[in-house]
Symmetry: C2
Subunit: 142 residues, 2 copies
DNA sequence: TATTGACCTCAAGTTAACTTGAAGTGGCAC
DNA sequence: GTGCCACTTCAAGTTAACTTGAGGTCAATA
């Protein structure tokens, strides 16, 4: 039982079988071979799917994720690119923290309307500036 | 000149005129009125667009953003929802930080392939667990 | 051995968030 | 007053990331 068929992989990864086939189509994951018609996956597919889930949570497209974790059999990533991705993520983290602060302030602010509160507007400006920086750094802007 | 027509708003907000019309269609922004055929926007539209940009950067859909910042003329938000959104964002921030750490470790790790490195795999497990928690908390999972 | 249910392929449909295009209008500088 | 050009509407097209459906296969269980 070293191999998983698509149903087992779906159950363990929380990704539907149809989506797994789609991921294989576009080269995001690879099956080891077939048992009759049925795809057989190795356990490293589970690790790859974890990475994919993580990348999606971080807001990367499947294409970008594909670039990060390597297309075919080679799950090895160029290290300088990894560092750049980490930097971009950190920038994004800072922007999101700013947004969180902004929302939290809005929740506690006594001003009748948040748009009238000077603190809110200042936080907003800061957050937006960070967003711009993140977008430039990232080059992910469509 | 207290009003902006769509071209001016587009220039100042960095959002295309077509997109602004689309946003008005779906009720994300509102124009003050018309000058002839032409929409006139007030400066609060700029603030709203900042909020929208921020929400998008945070990974929210336009529908979710619409819920956060209020649909029509009322840009006021229910405070408990704001706090919940901030909490969800903080969780996401933690997940992204974990991902960043994971990537950074991968960049420095001497293992021939990251998938073979135990530290990488441990970080990955942690990051994924956080991702799951975030998704449950968020209820944004489609 | 017969059936069942999990798999298969391939095509088409779906949703969000826009973008593009065609055809028309009207404010304003000359 | 006329011509340009930024606007207008409306319909259709686009992209990513799937999902759904129809019709077929086959490995294992009864």
């Amino acid at each position: 039982m070293r191999f998983l068929d698509i149903g087992a992989l779906a159950a363990r990864s929380g990704t539907s079988a149809a989506t797994l086939r789609y991921y294989e189509d576009i080269g995001l994951i690879t099956s080891i071979g077939r048992h009759g018609l049925r795809r057989q996956f190795g356990s490293e597919a589970l690790v790859r799917l974890s990475l994919i889930a993580l990348g999606k949570a971080a807001g990367f497209s499947l294409t970008e994720i594909s670039g990060m974790i390597g297309r075919d059999g080679t799950p090895d990533l160029p290290r300088d690119i990894l560092r750049a991705q980490a930097d971009a993520l950190d920038t994004k983290v800072r922007a999101l923290s700013a947004l969180s602060q902004t929302l939290r302030h809005a929740a506690d602010c006594p001003a009748p309307t948040h748009l009238e509160c000077p603190t809110f507007r200042r936080l907003l400006r800061v957050a937006v500036r960070r967003g711009h920086r993140a977008r430039r750094t990232n080059s992910t802007s469509n």
